[in-house]
């Protein structure tokens, strides 16, 4: 089995988000970066589990600058066998998808794993784009994955339910909660990660037709209006007359 796991680097959930003065760029000063949680907890761990039972190789791929290598090493410490970094500024979903697809084309991966979305752009775009570039089936929001020979069985989250599907390898998926349990890298993993191969690849040119041009912070909440616990009719009145939500 040859498995590719696409990992992105995002600000930690608890980071304070701010932008430069004219709102055109994210202000990274003081922000702690992490591996996108869904890529780490679900996609990468399930790929490693499959490799452990079925044999093969797990490749972790990041599209990003050299500064992302700490995150990439963490993927190796969790269990990826080798890593690839496509050396560029990951400008947008279309650009990133093009880079991933160009690398994966010809590498004959059996399964290409994505997270369900990145917690910075909240796009859920890249996986579907890569699947289309490579003309492969795509199972999004997969919460369960088993492989039997050349056939994969999956469950995917749909609104208010679950859909069970089967698909022949090769294919692309995005991983959601349920696919695996988070793994904390152990000392041995961290040590061996230092010597595992990390290949650098040059990007291909691509012009993304959708660009984030302006960022802003949501208007601050005007402050909570407190209602006394024995005044529930008043709360209902406010929700009806003032907030107009009932």
């Amino acid at each position: 089995m040859k498995l590719l796991v696409c990992i992105s680097q995002t600000p930690d959930t608890t980071s304070k988000i701010s932008f430069n003065a004219d709102g055109t760029e994210f202000n990274a000063a003081g922000v702690q970066f992490i591996m996108n949680p869904y890529d780490e907890w679900y996609a990468l761990v399930r790929a490693c589990e499959l490799r452990e039972t079925l044999g093969g190789t797990v490749v972790a791929l990041n599209v990003g600058p050299a500064a992302n290598e700490t995150t990439i090493r963490k993927a190796l410490a969790i269990g990826a066998d080798e890593a690839v970094r496509i050396d560029c500024d990951p400008k947008g979903a279309g650009y990133v998808a093009k880079q991933i697809a160009e690398y994966a084309r010809g590498e004959n991966f059996d399964i290409i794993f994505f997270g369900k979305e990145t917690i910075d752009h909240n796009g859920s775009e890249v996986g579907a784009m890569v699947a289309e570039h490579l003309d492969l089936p795509y199972v999004s929001y997969a919460s369960k994955l088993d492989v039997n020979g050349t056939v994969a069985s999956l469950e995917r989250d749909i609104e208010g339910g679950v859909e069970a599907v089967e698909v022949d390898l090769p294919f692309v998926l995005s991983a959601a909660k349920g696919m695996a349990e988070q793994r904390i890298p152990n000392m041995r993993g961290i040590m061996t990660a230092r010597t595992k191969p990390l290949k650098e690849v040059a990007p291909v040119p691509f012009e993304d037709a959708a660009k984030a041009v302006q960022f802003s912070l949501p208007p601050a909440k005007s402050g909570v209006k407190l209602v006394q616990p024995d005044q529930m009719d008043e709360l209902v009145r406010l929700l009806h007359e003032e907030a107009k939500v009932i």
């Binding site: 199972v139 208010g160 037709a209 009932i246």
Partner: protein, 320 residues
């Protein structure tokens, strides 16, 4: 032309389809063009979607589309978009939309912005749209400069407006409807509005003490016609089913009204609910972080407050 993909899983339009067509019509009006809806698969009354503002309803009735596969759906939408000269394609940011939008953008050489929550503004031939980013902590405006633009619309971002009339359905066909994914089964909870579509959500956390106390939460939800949700530790402890878990690791929702009962308001929880229009927090601890994100708050013991709130809603319903 603005082409809207109107989802109809298991033969019925989704709420997101009505929202997407309502939105598509507004975009079309702003651009001085018309709006058409595309329906794929078996549907009882495809023309109904016209009432939300589509002047044409194009229906590919091929039953192969009843089994969802993002590849065949994206190919069909792209073909219809090309044949009709669509300049904007709109989908819902749903489980289906998320699987299809990226594929469609590649097929159409289009710029894509997903999870959009506002009407676009024009900048020459480019369009500008806004969406929520950083898990609700910021807003980004995107510019799409390609000839064809793909937009997926966040749930509950526009209210469906059935102001038009039903439209005569044009039955069309597409080159291929064959997918490669084999759908084995689909399980949905009957009679419950799925969380991402719910307008009112009643959610509870560890303050409930145990699963045996959830009756009052369900009663309140029943009174309000709401869907129930929970915090992550509650789902992890199996007090409630996993599909109710909202937050960074669970489902992200944006109902009109979110009532949080005995939930502290950790940042990972807020990441999934902070786009709710109005938030009501019931917590006995006046210092609970959730109050900072709330519109209305009740500092008190939930075991007393929730039944009283339910009675108050019942009185309100009886009088209105």
């Amino acid at each position: 032309m603005v082409l809207v993909f109107a989802e109809s899983p298991r033969g019925q339009f989704k709420k997101s389809a009505f929202e997407a067509v309502t939105y598509g019509k507004k975009v079309a009006d702003a651009l001085g063009t018309s709006c058409a809806a595309l329906v794929l698969g078996t549907v009882q009354d495809a023309g109904e979607i016209g009432r939300y503002g589509a002047s044409r309803v194009l229906h590919v009735s091929d039953a192969a589309f009843d089994q969802f596969d993002s590849q065949s759906v994206a190919a069909a939408i792209a073909e219809v978009a090309k044949n009709n000269g669509a300049t904007v394609v709109v989908l819902g940011h749903t489980s289906t939309g998320k699987s299809v939008a990226g594929r469609l953008a590649v097929r159409l050489d289009a710029g894509l912005v997903s999870g959009v929550n506002s009407l676009p503004s024009s900048n020459g031939s480019a369009l500008r749209v806004k969406k929520s980013v950083f898990s609700g902590k910021a807003i980004a405006e995107y510019e799409i400069s390609s000839a064809v633009k793909v937009i997926s619309l966040m749930g509950n971002a526009v209210k469906p407006e059935a102001t038009g009339s039903a439209v005569a359905v044009e039955t069309i066909s597409v080159a291929s409807s064959k997918g490669r994914i084999r759908v084995k089964s689909v399980k949905t909870q009957e009679g419950i509005v799925p969380l991402p579509e719910a307008e009112i959500v009643v959610s509870a956390g560890r303050g409930m003490k145990g699963p045996e106390n959830w009756g009052m939460v369900e009663d309140l939800a029943t009174t309000l016609g709401a869907t129930t949700a929970c915090s992550r530790p509650v789902a992890d402890a199996h007090w409630r089913p996993h599909h109710e878990h909202v937050g960074q690791t669970g489902i992200a929702i944006r109902p009109n009204l979110y009532i949080a009962i005995g939930i502290s308001g950790a940042i990972q929880h807020l990441a999934g609910v902070n786009n709710s229009k109005v938030i009501v927090v019931i917590n006995k601890d006046a210092e609970a972080p959730f109050f900072k994100a709330a519109d209305y708050g009740v500092v008190g013991d939930l075991f007393e407050v929730v039944p009283q709130l339910n009675e108050a809603f019942k009185r309100f319903k009886a009088n209105s």
